[in-house]
């Protein structure tokens, strides 16, 4: 018998709406949800979730360490034993050092409620996630300028007439609907300009492509602002009504002419002027895309603020073809309960300095890069236990050896994951989570549903293959043992959904037909004259941010030219391809692994020739004495100061036989970059590596 189950994809962080085709109790195929996307399209990672399900190289039952940390010696444990083991140590930590000595991190996204509720219930303020190496600077920039989280706005690509991408690789770091809609926009005649330090498939599909000198994007944005103001290309009505600090930015950008920017960026002044004019003509249906995998430079915060400034000048907020604020379910009369909503926020001092050392940064995502400092120095206080929920700091942040040294000091390190992560391999307990095809989670607001707010969930398509459990069950069991079970008022996922939807007029069956509860298909747009809700103190877009000024942090900073790497040295830049995620979900899946099992070092043909390197040669890439061998690929279409490799390779977990030992890990080369830049990001692209030819 064939049936369709609507759910949410968890292969990457894009969380696309899915339709799972189930035949006689087995997953037959995974499609996009046509009721939400208008078609069954689904990216390669989502389609490969069936292979994840059948993969045997993932944890199949709870494991407790049976040797040194990281020795790879495990013993199988029952769930009760594993829960008791964890709860005993958490209780000890809480009694001796307070609940704040317990940390928890995850991948972020809309399905984080169980773990955040658990942590708040036991009294710790210390939730954080992986965004330190992803979106932190763009998120914090938008918080300061518009009072909105990075992801509480979205883009109306469909109606966009002109889009400028700063390193946002829309056709390779793909989200299914986004890629499809941007393609629709291009086919309808919308223009796309791609600015990147290297050519990629997005560049190949753009109307214009410019290779920019790494670290100079800020110069480009300043020159664009300069030109847009100088030639009156901005939207005066929008600026007068909604923007504070126009005169200041005008004055500030006077010296930053396109001619000046040409020298910095390598992009011809006439092209910069052309972008300003083309955008000005297309406004307000213009998007200057701020990106999200944006852990680049120390001054990244100011680049992202400048990109949002360009959008503000174009008046592209809350307009067709621009940026819109995501509307809330309450605005269509949809009421539902959340677990986290039942608990007051824990007000204690955070471990990572957000709110103290870093008063201007948002505590929503925290600062993962502060982990070793906090643990090793007990600054601001001792840290004793850390629960890692499908997050892998040892594989995604720089300086994993330092991180390990810190982890060695913990009394408890727990990994809850569908995979063996590198952090899991180093932990005391691995609790195997069921894959998203095998479990039901809580109801949440679908991200990307901002014009027609709707609810959705992850919904079980098939029974778990192994002795794994859903996160809702795991955190409830731990909460029970910690004496805070009352915050998890359910005995099954169905009971939880019923509790969430109580009084809403909807039930879990309401998701059966389309996968979403969507009271209205009518798009909500706020009134551009009076109705836009910017959550800054002034209710406007603050180019001069009152929040920053209060903390004596400048709203914009003078441009500083990045140093040129020495001869034979290059900036290491990383990104993704469509078949792999930034996380560890896809690397060991056979049908994805066979398409990309190894990464290479891409370098500029001319620069390579100077070093005697030919295409296909083996090269040594090194930093501060740490060296790795990797195959070189040459291209004319990469900035001479840059070398590039894909992120996520160099797996060190031997049980993952397909990805183990394949390729080189970028984060191990990013030495000394476990820093907190002003935007809360790790400045990953400040990594400079030496490259030389070597024997294979």
């Amino acid at each position: 018998m064939k049936k369709f189950v609507y759910t949410t994809c968890e292969m990457c962080t894009g969380r696309c709406p899915l339709m799972v085709e189930v035949l006689d109790g087995e997953v037959k195929h995974i499609w996009g949800n046509p009721h939400v996307q208008g078609g069954q399209q689904c990216c390669p990672r989502g389609a490969a979730a069936k292979a994840l399900l059948s993969d045997n190289e993932r944890p199949q039952h709870p494991l407790i360490r049976d040797g040194e940390r990281g020795s790879g010696k495990w013993r199988q444990a029952s769930w009760d034993e594993a829960y008791d083991y964890i709860a005993d140590r958490l209780k000890t930590a809480k009694e001796k050092y307070g609940a704040k000595s317990i940390l928890l991190s995850d991948r972020g996204g809309p399905m984080t409620e169980f773990e955040r509720t658990f942590l708040a219930a036991i009294g710790s303020p210390n939730y954080f996630n992986h965004h330190a190496t992803c979106s932190n600077s763009v998120h914090n920039a938008h918080m300061s300028i518009a009072g909105h989280a990075r992801n509480s706005v979205d883009y109306d690509y469909e109606n966009c007439k002109y889009m400028v991408l700063f390193g946002r690789n829309i056709y390779e770091s793909i989200k299914t609907t986004e890629a499809k809609t941007v393609m629709d926009m291009q086919e309808a005649g919308g223009k796309m300009v791609c600015v990147d330090v290297r050519w990629n498939y997005t560049a190949a599909k753009s109307d214009k492509f410019f290779i920019i000198r790494p670290g100079t994007d800020y110069a480009l944005t300043l020159a664009l602002i300069h030109q847009i103001i100088k030639d009156n290309l901005y939207d005066p009505d929008f600026v007068n009504r909604w923007v504070l600090g126009f005169d200041e930015i005008k004055r500030f950008t006077i010296p930053y002419t396109p001619e000046w920017a040409e020298k910095e960026t390598g992009i011809p002044a006439k092209e910069i002027i052309r972008i300003a004019h083309e955008a000005g003509e297309a406004k307000p249906a213009v998007i200057f895309h701020p990106g999200w995998m944006t852990s680049w430079f120390s001054n990244d915060y100011y680049l992202r603020r400048a990109i949002y400034t360009l959008n503000a000048l174009m008046g592209s907020y809350e307009t067709k073809g621009g940026i819109y604020i995501n509307k809330k379910p309450g605005e269509v009369g949809l009421k539902y309960r959340t677990l986290i909503g039942q608990i007051p926020k824990v007000k204690e001092e955070r471990f990572d300095g957000v709110g103290t050392k870093f008063p201007h940064l948002s505590d929503q995502w925290g600062l993962a890069q502060m982990l070793p400092h906090a643990i090793l120095n007990e600054d601001p206080y001792p840290i004793k236990a850390y629960i890692v929920m499908r997050h892998d700091p040892l594989a995604s942040l720089p300086d994993p050896d330092l991180m390990k040294k810190a982890f060695a000091k913990l009394d408890l390190l727990v990994s809850i994951d569908i995979n063996y992560s590198e952090t899991g391999w180093f932990s005391d307990v691995i609790l195997p989570e069921s894959t998203f095809l095998e479990r039901t989670d809580h109801v949440y607001v679908r991200s990307g549903s901002g014009l027609t707010p709707h609810l959705t969930l992850i919904r079980q398509a098939v029974k778990p293959r192994f002795d794994t459990k859903g996160r809702g069950e795991i955190f409830k069991a731990l909460a029970d043992r910690m004496g805070v079970g009352q915050f998890f008022p359910y005995n099954s996922p169905e009971e939880l959904v019923a509790w969430q939807l109580e009084g809403s007029g909807y039930t879990i069956e309401s998701f059966d037909a389309t996968g979403v509860i969507e009271p209205s298909k009518e798009q909500i747009w706020y009134d551009r004259k009076d109705g836009i809700k910017f959550n800054t103190p002034s209710g406007k877009i603050e180019l001069i941010s009152s929040m920053l000024e209060k903390h004596n942090i400048p709203s914009f900073i003078p441009y500083e030219s990045p140093p040129k790497p020495a001869e034979g040295s290059f900036r290491l830049v990383t990104s993704k391809v469509a078949v792999h995620t930034q996380g560890r979900t896809t690397a060991n899946i056979g049908i994805l692994n066979e398409l990309y099992s190894e990464n290479h070092l891409w370098m500029n043909t001319e620069e390579a020739r100077k070093l005697g390197i030919s295409d296909g040669d083996t090269v040594e890439v090194s930093v501060e004495g740490y060296a790795k061998k990797i195959g070189a690929k040459l291209t004319d279409h990469i900035h001479p100061e840059v070398v590039f490799m894909l992120h996520g390779f160099g797996d060190t977990v031997p049980l993952r036989t397909k990805s183990f030992g394949k390729g080189v890990s970028d984060i191990r080369l990013q030495r000394g970059l476990l820093k907190t830049a002003v935007g809360g990001n790790c400045p990953l692209t400040e990594c400079v590596v030496a490259v030389k030819k070597t024997a294979a």
Binding site: W31, Q41, A47, A179, A204, A578
Partner: protein, 169 residues
Amino acid sequence: MSIYYIHQSQKRCIGCRACEIHCKTENDVPVGPRFCAIVPVGPKVVENVPRMNFIFMPCFHCENPWCVSACPTGAMQKRAKDGIVFVEPSLCVGCKSCITACPWGVPQWNRDTGRVFKCDYCRHRVDEGLEPACVTGCTTKALKWITPDMASLDKREKFAREIAENLPY
């Protein structure tokens, strides 16, 4: 040629290879063989932008299939009703003649069974009135499931529109 045709828009294709994964998933094709393949060609600089082509290569379901003629056992067959070329596994002896015969190397070797298997336009889906998995799953809707007549008509219409645009009045 079968009465069907998969048309690929070069403009829309982003080379993501979701089509390959959907094909493998639908037809339980193990690691190694591929019923369809995306072959990236490029980059080639056109008006300052290095462009790519991603050529989609399924089976073409030829009118006079080399593979069928080469098959000594009658395992490789052309379906009378719609021209879909497929392998009847019980008849395949694994001699690989079809792999040699097909100009594009389309038939694939199945190590697990010691037989050939290949793209059959997902005939189990076609028979249900559905489209092949690669078409349905394509990320950007670059693939279209059409009849050759439609393909020809589409092309003529596109050409006509282009001509009309450039005609002086």
